[in-house]
Amino acid sequence: MNKLKKLSRIAALCVFLSASFAVQADEIQDANKLFKQGQHAQAMEKVNSVLASKPKDAQARFLKGLILTEQGDTANAIKTFTELTEDYPELPEPYNNLAVLYAGQGQYEKAKVALEMAIRTHPSYATAHENLGDIYAKMASQAYDRALQLDKSNASTQTKLAMIRDLFGSGAKSARPAKPTVPTLADNKPVAAPAPTVAPAPAVAPVAAPAAPKQAESATNPAAEVLNATQAWAAAWSAKDSKKYLAFYAKEFKTPGGESRSAWEGQRKERIAKPKSIRVEVRDAKVKLADPAHASVGFKQSYRASHLNTTSSKTLEWVKVDGQWLIVEERSGK
């Protein structure tokens, strides 16, 4: 269970509402800084002062949940994250953290449900997927223990200790930028000139991502084509054009949760329709060509909707069918 320590940190929420409440955001940033430095009591003080004037503030409450977790006040941390899921059901991070806390208590069934909620609100949320995998593995091991009478009656306690050890083990460690899915504030500014990167395998062709789609438009090589398709896919999404967006997915596309194609499409349509506006940007794209008809594109996806702003790593697997590039798999994380 050592892997299940992926608490979502503050970042995604740090930009939440930050434009309209700059001063508050500053205070939250300070609190976050203190938190990352391990000064939990001071961080809590700041958070509480924000909450005194704005008791519903999502980022302050989120940070409070994290501080409580670090302080070992699991019950109140659970309470804090639970209330966040009630007030902001569209945010996956509180669900994820709730799951981590439940898992720490050995309440895997509850952890599983929370992660499923996180994924429902955000199907490409890699952390939740990873954590869910870990939860299944943990539940499996619990079942095996019962089946084979392995002497691990205190397995849940061990898990909890493992998590706490991780959180407190090294102060520096807990101050690390937590997850690829939760960038720091600075990351949210589009990077001007992405450096060309080299793919590790010599068999594949590394291609530097063009900063703007038009650079690839006239391209005739497959790598450029597939980059073009990736940009067009992001554009369709940004335009909230569900039909066009879904047309990028091949018939044999693997739905993330293994659900039926129609169920997945329904979910996507709903999610695309809901926000007033969506802006999806593809950055740092890297193309790996397996052959002229199969390509994998890894990139940083920045997603801004009216209510949510996230950046995550994403990989799209493309296949060329009848001259058209189509997506067969979409993965979050690297």
Binding site: A137, A140, A143, Y144, R146, A147
Partner: protein
């Protein structure tokens, strides 16, 4: 995960309807789950196994299947019971239980009568037949002398299988036995579960063959264990606690036969002829005795007859002496039962109530005889009180 079904050497299979007992439902649910695995419906398989575990969290085999199904969501699994660091022998035990239970599920409800039930006494309301080859205990009801199938249960036998011969050989005996006693839960340690029914091993035939050992019981399972693997006891026949309780309500101490065979044989035409011949011979024995036709009466006893303590010459001498002192005798037999011995062709255990009257002595007793067919003729090889 596709491997789970194939490792159990199972393709798809039909699930026949069988007598309903709680354990049967459980077994069916388990089979459905494994069938779903075979059909690549892991979600269905997990639902099925989850719901059966809700009722019976101590069903270890189901926990193992659940472990595999959950792990398969996290990573590909390669083997049945793919737990890291799983003790191989325990996984193997559970795999054998899975096989035994799935074979049971595919069994049709018996329509024929086991060949071991030639005649039931009116007072024997039920009879138990254990087929160790199928890890199954069958319960039959006596309906006007005809055995009728009631239910069957998964059982555990000795670690080394069946055909007990010696103390400590960890085998389950094969033969015709009777329930001797009932020990309730409060008289037992948790290990025996909901109760125990000691049976009459070693019986007269076992003793004659110098088979020893003791303490062969039908009993339940510890409170943290729903069922045990097929080969796990020291010779006892172990049932899940619910099944033992269910079965126990039909057992009569001192009366209910428990016949244990390695491979069930069913009654057929030849069998019925044999039965008629034996019953006729028993009647002949009774009438020869009643008529004080002493030499004809003694001719029913085999050369190697033994009452356990007395051999044929001594027995014959004593009978001749007794009969010579009688002017008349009357012998009546009632409540006769006859159970052919499993794994020992031509041997039948006969029990009856003997009502003996004579000019100078009368008595009533329960008698047991072992009849053996030799050169086409039924003869008594053992006789004693039951």
């Amino acid at each position: 995960m596709r491997n789970v079904a194939s490792l159990l050497l199972l393709g798809s299979f039909a699930l026949p309807a069988l007598a309903e007992t709680p354990s049967r439902d459980l077994e069916l649910a388990l089979a459905k789950s494994l069938q779903a695995v075979g059909n690549s419906r892991l979600d269905v398989a997990l639902n099925e196994v989850d719901s059966l575990l809700k009722a019976n969290p101590n069903f270890k085999l189901a926990q193992l299947v659940r472990g595999d199904l959950l792990l398969a969501r996290s990573r590909p699994i390669n083997d049945f019971g793919d737990a890291p660091n799983a003790p191989k022998d325990r996984v193997q035990d559970l795999r054998e239980e899975a096989n035994a239970r799935l074979q049971r599920v595919q069994q049709q409800q018996p329509v024929a009568v086991p060949k071991y039930l030639w005649q039931l006494a009116p007072g024997q309301r039920h009879v138990v037949v254990v087929d160790t080859g199928k890890s199954t205990l069958y319960l039959f009801e006596n309906v006007n002398g005809e055995p009728r199938y009631v239910a069957d249960f998964y059982i555990t036998q000795g670690k080394k299988g069946a055909d007990k011969a010696a103390e400590g050989d960890q085998k389950t005996p094969l033969g015709v036995y009777f329930v001797n006693q009932h020990l309730s839960r409060d008289k037992l340690t948790d290990f025996y579960g909901s109760g125990a029914y000691p049976i009459s091993y070693p019986n007269e035939w076992d003793k004659r063959l110098k088979r020893d050992g003791h303490g062969i019981w039908l009993h339940g399972t510890p409170s943290d264990t729903y069922s045990r693997p097929p080969l796990a006891s020291n010779g006892c026949v172990v049932l899940s606690n619910d099944d033992l309780t269910h079965l126990g309500s039909h057992l009569q101490v001192g009366i209910t036969p428990v016949i244990i065979t390695r491979q069930m044989e069913w009654s057929d035409e030849a069998d019925r002829n044999d039965r008629a011949a034996l019953l006729k011979e028993i009647e002949q024995w009774r009438s020869d005795w009643s008529n004080l036709n002493t030499e004809a009466y003694l001719a029913h006893y085999a050369r190697d007859f033994s009452s356990g303590s007395v051999d044929l010459p001594a027995f014959a001498q004593q009978k001749r002496l007794v009969n010579s002192g009688k002017s008349w005798i009357k012998v009546k037999l009632s409540n006769l039962s006859a159970f052919p011995y499993p794994n020992q062709p031509g041997l039948v255990v006969v029990n009856f109530e003997q009502d003996y009257e004579s000019n100078n002595l009368s008595n009533r007793m329960l008698k047991r005889q072992y009849w053996m067919k030799r050169d086409g003729r039924w003869q008594i090889v053992y006789e004693g009180s039951a």
